[in-house]
Amino acid sequence: MKQKIKGVMPRKSIRFAAFFAVMGPGIIAGLSDDDPAGITTYSILGAHYGYQMLWVLLISTIALILFQDLGARIGVVTRQGLIGLIRQKYGARSGVMSAISLIIANVGTMTAEFAGIAAGAQLFGVSKFVSVPLAAVLVTGLVLRGSFGRVERVFFLLSAVFLAYIVAGFMSHPDWGKAARGLVVPSMPLTHDSILIATATLGTTLAPWGLTFIQSYAVDKRLTRDDLRLLRADVWAGSLLTGVIGFFVVITCAATLNVQHISIVNASDAAAALKPLAGTLAKDLFAIGLIGAALLAASILPLSTAYAASDLTGRPAALDDRMREAPLFYGTFAAVTLLSAILVLLPGAPLVTILVLTQVLNAVLLLPLLFFMYGIARDRRLMGEFVSSRAILNVYLTVIAAVSICIAAMLWYSFH
């Protein structure tokens, strides 16, 4: 079949087909960062500050491109997950600490995803006692029963849901001129809330689980050094798309909620508030986007955790492994899903506290992970000819410095 295609297709199409084969890690890992927590952050950014702080999103997207690209490259070159490499290069303590923090943070984030599904379904009048267990079963069933190829195709289908935000964005008739200016002219009111939301934007875009996921996923997909060029295109496309979706969420809220001075606290508020302003369809699109985003992230998070756990113990696992072959991998997946679903459904569980602490833990964990990745990037024994140049290492350091400042600011405000 393939040869027939080669026979009749022009060269350009072959390259396009090859891209489809490599495509995945960048797009899936990127878009999963636009999870309900992300959509919430973008909604608040737009609803409270209009178009003014769009530049924060641009910077976050650039940081995302840089480190997702590095993660994917490390995965392909070393053929190991990040946690395993940390254990190998930085020793037992660093490995265990990173893995434990990642697992706890992921359970917390997974709880946020389920909360997002519950909130989104609530907008359509579906009880969380139906939507959350259903989502948990769907996600677990997909990963337990599917081969790598099938799982990836479902991920792509889920990603398509994000188009809803772009449609909703156009339906809200934004002011494109102001949006363009907000994107490139950095300005912000220097207040407690604005600094917090700027940090949250960076933190929700560049997430620890996304960084470990893209690396393990590239290993699981068995991509090779030959695929690196196409993989880079995939990472750029995925990260840019992630930024574009965020952009549309911000302008939707800026054009409607901000103009009307409506204040919101989460994404489902935003969806509900959209109804009188941009019509029922816009509200439905926003809610569907929220559920799809949560489902995608809810599939990625336990997977990222499972990769990390099996990586730490030194028994790498893959989606194509059978349950009997990789009990730890599938066990971790099930445990994370189950625990988070219970936390969401448990009456009286301190959900808000869990979500805030998760955000703090994610932020605190991000910094060492970025440093570890930086260290691996410059390690010639690990990276061989793909070791990073002096110039790009400096760019990484600049991003790490910016992230450090944001995290310090966030920690300061979280506890004062």
């Binding site: 079949m1 295609i5 020793g91 190829g149 030194g314």
Partner: protein, 446 residues
């Protein structure tokens, strides 16, 4: 009386006894082993007990010995990293290393071939457990005094030993030999010149069937696949690769260095190699071919240029060709000669200008007189032949119409260039139904 009492208590007593024995044995084992992870950071002292520095790493030399001896120490002396030769080690215990003299020769450390650093290169790195046929991460290494030297004898792969290392103080140093693999039965993936082969790893792998090795290769991932292949003799590896699924094989080949890929492809059946080369893509194909001998590269390039859906793309070029004037005995001798290469279904007979006359089955040869000339042996049934460019679908039709076991492929001048066996056809058919999404055939995705 006593005889009746003893059986009543003896199961418990026996169990206690056994447990005590076991504990004693464990204790002895534990005391005779030194944990490398626990030793790192401990003081290195001279004969008089004066501190020289702290141990940073231990160097071993891989040679013919089953258990590699310690060949040197990396010691932090003040702010500097220094090298102390292994011959200066006096005693080595879990708590300290005593050197055998007071005059210490400190040198600058330089990496040498055939040596690895136990803490930097082996602990927490991946190793292949050859007995269990899996890849594990080593949690710790154990040294023991054997044959007048301190040697690496075991690899601890347990998670408990790994966790022990995150604790401070003496817990960290206490050996916990729970799941220890014999060093002889592992292949360390220490960087450098490839894996360290041990005697046992070679013998175990040598006894496996190619199909089983293929399964094992498919179970492993990326770098570990490569390591396993490095452990095998090229011919054995090539046999195993032929048994792999084509997508897996392609992914594997893409990950190998061109020199390694070239070596394996030369050892594989030409038609299988050609298929891999065809799928590698032009740029990669040329670099792999450049790493082969000219002769090999030329014949493989020719084969790879045929389309996969034509007779030329699925045929095997290895076959026994005899001239019509040769004798039956010569034909049989040729077949025996080429047995290694797998051309065993008969000989192709050609005339002076190299045109195909007949394909004579082994059975016919055996039945004929040994001194008979081939031109006397040839006759009906005549062989089925197709042109190089014949489409795949027509080849199948020819095959089903004639019910033969093979088809001879000829060029425009009717000279035989290869033959298609039933199994080549099966391979090609399986592949044409295997693809799920056309664009996913490029590898990786499925």
């Amino acid at each position: 009386m006593e005889a009746t009492r003893i059986p009543a208590i003896s199961p418990v007593a026996r169990r206690l006894d056994r447990r005590r024995e076991y504990a004693l044995a464990r204790k002895q084992v534990r005391e005779s082993l030194v944990s490398v992870a626990g030793l790192i950071g401990r003081p290195v002292r001279d004969q008089g007990g004066r501190d020289i520095g702290r141990l940073m790493d231990i160097l071993v030399r891989h040679g013919d010995a089953t258990y590699p001896p310690v060949s040197g120490l990396i010691v932090k002396v003040g702010p500097r990293r220094s090298f102390i030769d292994g011959s200066q080690i006096g005693t080595l215990t879990q708590d300290e290393i005593r050197l055998s003299s007071t005059k210490i020769d400190l040198k600058e450390f330089k990496r040498r071939d055939g040596e690895s650093l136990l803490d930097s290169d082996v602990i927490d790195h991946q190793i292949v457990d050859v007995d269990g046929m899996r890849v594990v991460r080593s949690s710790d290494l154990y040294l023991a005094h054997l044959d007048r030297a301190f040697r690496v004898v075991g690899v601890d792969v347990s998670f408990v030993s790994f966790l022990r290392r995150i604790f401070p103080g003496s817990i960290r140093r206490r050996p916990t030999p729970d799941r220890v693999l014999d060093w002889a039965a592992v292949a360390s993936l220490a960087d450098g010149e490839g894996p360290v082969r041990t005697a046992k790893s070679r013998s175990v792998l040598g006894q496996m069937r190619p199909a089983d090795i293929a399964d094992l290769i498919e179970d492993l991932h990326g770098r570990e696949q490569e390591v396993l292949i490095d452990l095998l003799e090229p011919a054995v590896a090539a046999d195993a690769l032929e048994e792999m699924e084509s997508q897996e094989l392609l992914g594997l080949m893409r990950g190998l260095t061109t020199a390694k890929a070239a070596k394996l492809l030369v050892h594989m059946e030409p038609d299988e190699s050609a298929e891999v080369l065809r799928d590698l893509g032009e740029e990669h194909r040329e670099s792999v071919l450049a790493a082969m001998s000219d002769e090999n590269a030329r014949s493989l390039r020719e084969l790879a240029e045929f389309d996969d859906d034509q007779a030329g793309g699925i045929m095997t070029t290895r076959m026994a060709i005899v001239h019509e004037s040769q004798t039956v005995a010569q034909a049989l001798a040729l077949l025996v000669d080429q047995k290694e290469q797998g051309a065993t279904d008969g000989v192709v007979v050609v005339n002076d200008s190299g045109e195909l006359l007949d394909h004579v089955q082994i059975l016919e040869l055996v039945a004929a007189k040994a001194d008979a000339v081939m031109s006397e042996v040839i006759g009906p049934p005549w062989p089925t032949s197709v042109l190089i460019g014949t489409p795949f679908a027509e080849v199948i039709t020819e095959f089903t119409n004639n019910r033969g076991s093979s088809i001879v492929v000829v060029d425009e001048q009717y000279r035989p260039v290869g033959h298609i066996l039933a199994d080549d056809l099966v391979d090609a058919l399986v592949e044409s139904v295997e693809r799920r999404w056309p664009w996913q055939s490029g590898g990786g995705g499925t």
